[in-house]
Assembly symmetry: C2
């Protein structure tokens, strides 16, 4: 295994295995993923969960391998669920060694190897259900998408275990892809309708340093979106009819070369995976033109098309971006996978262009849009993450039928559950980065980390009760290093934080691009303390966001809060928050949720009366009351009921 | 022709031809209907409007009549468009005699007669496209629905012209229906999936006094909704699959006998037409049980499921009622025909149970939800009437694709345009009612009316600039009568109005069920003057209506107002109305609209700035400004832009 902190582009990331997270918020969630989510999802992939939508994913591979017989079931991309599960399980094994899980993983890898064609091709759908049709429908076939997830899983497995078995399987697969695609004479000049293999190939390249892997990744990005469209030609050959207006080329990220794009369009997850790969491209090649396009796209997403929870994709139909400022809270799609994709992209932007604005969004998506996707006990999931829910309405209305007010056990299209699992299990990889001059601390997560440097290995420990509290202690456990240490000051704490070095307050903090900079010859025992401002804050949206007009969202630290019926009764819209009064905050343990924070706001509530008229000119009467909030990511873990993020204000 | 003021039930209505509307608001609209709408719609029915969706309705009948050949096109209920056009044209002929129009009407009637089968059956779809399948799919076939509209047209034509030609055609049709349907052995115990024939048969009965017509109407109402369902049995015979959840029996008003219903469910227009017929039933039979159900349904609609514009049916999919208080302004369906149906129902409730609450709702629907359906020039129409519109959003979002921000020329499903035409042209029939003891003035519409009484004919003239102004003068032009005169005091003026009799102020007005009562031996020259309170009023919704929380609607007289981009710029949600400051009102003439009212409100508007963050904790800064409103029914007659009824309030 090669040096994981080697600088390949501007900054280098640490692989998940370099960061050991023993306790605290994320360790608890990683334990949940290891103990509950991964075993549960294995059962789901094997159709052993009564009442859940069947997956058939393992069975499809068994049929492809000739071990079982029968028909393919599920989506064409069913293999990717297995891939993401192996990826998550590999991360888990690096944290919590578990021989039983290890055997399951090895078995799944063995199965994939058995299913693989002699020339390296793998995808159970085309092998079982459409033999001979390989690469004929790149627009919808998801072959390279599945391949990408399998490559990511193989890289994770190799890093976690040192084994080359899965990696070698996927290297044969990449050879097969490389032989089929590319600008060279006789190859297909196509690309997949769902980006994914691009970022996977960059990950692979960082292991193999095989230039062919880099070139193939770059080919897929460069080729995409040119006119006349590969997909149009393919459709004509297939005799497919006209596309629905929401499934035009932009849905597939194929309407324009990425370099010519300036607004975020189409399917949100597809967009995130492509943008992530493009950021990798910039990191490898220092491509200024492409980075400029990515920055425009970043602004388009973050300044105009992102929910306050970090949810993206505000239209359910085609799971896609809508137009600027169209962010209805009750019809949000805000797919869990899209927020995960935003984390992936933000992280890669951070590596190319270390600015806290990327990390701020990463954090917003991670602690809100992503974490809301999984129940407190790790066995139920949201695909869709609304910012306002009324169960009776969501159950009735056709235009809200995608909105669930209870997490469900599994999905026929089960991309989200294993995607959360792999992100949570690899969270250690999203904390630090470094280059020759600096070590960045992007996120506040308990753990120990080792940085290889000129003077040997610098070991740093981080302790914090983040996101519940704002105090962070970074301690040099051993080693020496003269690189600058850069700690992110989140945007919500930018004007108010306290820092000290070895007990001495930093009176004139030096902030560069959102990071507090310490320059020093670090030695064992050095302590940097940071106290972030965890005041409860009312957030206002830009006036163009019609659905938030006259309303506030509540944030404390990285957490967005919401009101639930369980605490406040029905009819949450009848509350109006008094912004002049100070909120109270207390840490609580809630049944079926565990650790939580209760924020209480002074409010007024419209008094009901016996007048049955729906509309009248008498001014409503109000009573003083309190409105109790909890973190958005913890909603829908108690009784089913109303939920609301944007609160009416007095 | 028989005595039109004969009291059949509790109160008697006047047919449209008894009220002559020479000038004022409604006369202008009737002139528009006669001069623009009816000729335009004739062209539409004959597919002579370039760019409009083709109707084929006349051609279908020509094919059925054997005059033309070709295939049936359009919906199964295409004949009903012709029927509603003849009905509207007949009303128009009674107001504005026009030999050219008369010839067109006679030609259309001739055509219907030629299309009629020897046994009386008429429906071009089944005759042309599905011969031999008559009555086999009552759930969806719309045969009796079309028949009902043809009967209504025949009654109107007979009353307007004295001709029996169309009436006789439809009497033969009714014989055919009577032979096919009923509780008797050998007849089908079915009913139509779209109520309409029921109310038509009551109208017919009031002309014919043929008990068979009354019994047939009553049979259709009594039979409907019993279990096991006729429609279920029919579906099984047709081999039709399971119904979509929004198209269950309640969609067809067939989930329960009407007497057992207490909440308004299903397709809003179907509901209105059935409830209207049931009110006729109560009027004929004094059915207390049925009337109780209707009153429950009234409360369900008016207190929980009606927009402030009198729009009903808040879900586009299946054009149906949703659940209580689910009235999203930007996804409203609020079909023009449903508001027309609400007018029809409210009117019939008023005749059975003269209480101003019915007339108040009739007025709300008429001046807002109905009138908004037609452009100021009478050539373009809305099917869907939202309470909030942003063109870019409505054009993009799949879940708002039913919302148009420009009226269109015609619809493939063209129920609404001729429905408005027939209502406007017959508006005179919705002003007065009478019984042996009272004459009611329900609506304030310029015109002259004659009441037959014991002492001969009492002629009353009404002059008013309503709805622009609140002053009404009723004058006894000739005759004498000792019945009480009852003038509706609208709910919005209940606590503040001024009345006088022959110039003497009424100091202790007697109000009964919302009507100001004058008892007197009326004689020629008597003058009753009423001055209603036309102050601008802010309306608040009940707290359960989440979408109106913290917002106000603006009403003046019967008119609901809205803000438009044309007057206020984009981004109407950034305005917050200052409720403490008095609005100003002025009468204006607007280009492309004509007479209008401008209401100006003091408001504050969020100031934009250069900070590009979508969410931030800095409180927005506001500037003082004015918000200019115009009547809701006049929206979308100028440049395409945003519109908003529910305004944010400070």
């Amino acid at each position: 295994m090669d040096d994981k902190s080697r600088t390949m582009g501007r900054a280098s990331e640490l692989n998940f295995i370099n960061v050991f997270t023993a306790s605290g918020f994320w360790a608890e969630r990683q334990a949940l993923v290891s103990e509950a989510v991964i075993p549960y999802q294995w059962k789901a992939l094997n159709d052993e969960i009564p009442g859940a939508e069947p997956s058939h994913a393992i069975e499809n591979l068994r049929i492809a391998a000739g071990i079982s017989s029968g028909e393919f079931h599920g989506f064409k991309f069913q293999d990717s669920d297995v891939a993401k599960w192996i990826e998550a399980a590999s991360y888990s094994l690096s944290i919590h060694p578990d021989p039983d899980l290890s055997r399951l993983v090895e078995g799944a890898i063995e199965l994939i190897g058995q299913a693989q064609e002699p020339d390296g091709y793998i995808q159970s759908y085309y092998q079982v259900a459409a033999p001979g049709k390989r690469w004929s429908d790149l627009e919808w076939g998801h072959e390279l998408y599945c391949g990408g997830h399998l490559i990511e899983a193989a890289v994770a497995h190799h890093l976690a275990t040192g084994s080359r078995k899965f990696l070698d399987i996927m290297l044969r697969y990449v050879d097969c892809v490389d032989a089929a695609f590319g600008p060279e004479e006789g190859k297909r000049r196509g690309y997949d309708g769902h980006p994914e293999i691009e970022l996977a190939l960059f990950r692979l390249y960082r292991i193999t340093h095989d230039e062919r892997h880099l070139r193939l990744a770059e080919y897929f990005i460069d080729e995409r979106g040119h006119s006349p469209s590969y997909f149009d030609a393919e459709r004509e050959k297939l005799g497919a009819g006209a596309r629905d207006r929401h499934f035009e080329l932009d849905y597939f990220q194929a309407h324009l070369p990425l370099r010519d794009q300036h607004t975020a369009e189409g399917h949100a997850v597809r967009a995130m995976y492509l943008y992530s790969a493009a950021a990798d491209y910039c990191r490898e090649e220092g491509d200024v033109g492409l980075l400029g396009a990515l920055k425009d796209l970043w602004d388009s997403v973050v300044e105009k098309r992102m929910y306050v929870t970090g949810g993206i994709g505000s239209q359910a139909y085609a799971e896609r971006f809508s137009i600027d400022y169209d962010l209805p809270p009750d019809r949000a799609y805000a797919e869990t996978c899209a927020s995960i994709g935003l984390v992936l992209w933000a992280w890669r932007m951070l590596l190319v262009d270390p600015d806290s604005r990327y990390a701020d969004v990463l954090e917003r998506a991670l602690y809100n849009g992503v974490l809301a996707g999984m129940s407190a006990d790790g066995t139920r999931f949201f695909y869709v993450n609304p910012l306002e829910a009324r169960p009776e309405v969501a159950k009735f209305r056709r235009d809200q039928e995608h909105v669930k007010t209870r997490r469900v056990e599994w999905f026929g299209c089960a991309c989200c559950p294993p995607n959360i699992a792999r992100l949570v299990a690899s969270i250690g990889g999203y904390v630090y980065s470094s280059d020759a001059a600096s070590i960045w601390v992007h996120n506040y997560i308990v753990g120990e980390v080792a940085f290889a440097g000129e003077n040997g290995c610098l070991r740093i420990s981080q302790s914090t009760e983040y996101p519940w509290e704002g105090r962070v202690l970074l301690k040099i456990e051993s080693g020496a290093d003269n690189r600058a240490l850069r700690l992110r000051i989140p945007e919500w704490s930018a004007s108010s934080f306290f820092a000290s070095l070895n007990g001495t307050a930093v009176l004139s903090p030096r902030i560069e691009r959102g990071y507090l900079v310490f320059e020093r010859d670090w030695k064992t025992g050095d302590r940097v303390e940071l106290e972030l401002d965890m005041s409860v804050r009312f957030l206002y949206a830009r006036p163009e966001l019609a659905d938030a007009a006259g309303r506030v969202a509540v944030q404390r630290g990285p957490l967005i809060f919401c009101a639930e019926e369980a605490d406040n009764g029905k009819n949450l819209s009848s509350y109006a928050v008094d912004l002049a009064q100070s909120p109270t905050v207390c840490r609580v343990k809630l049944p079926t949720i565990g650790d939580s924070l209760r924020v209480e706001l002074a409010a007024q509530r419209v008094l009901g009366d016996n007048d049955r008229r729906l509309y009248r000119s008498d001014k409503p009467r109000y009573e003083d009351c309190r409105l109790s909030l909890l973190p958005y990511f913890q909603w829908a873990n108690r009784s089913e009921g109303e939920m609301r993020v944007w609160l009416n204000a007095l």
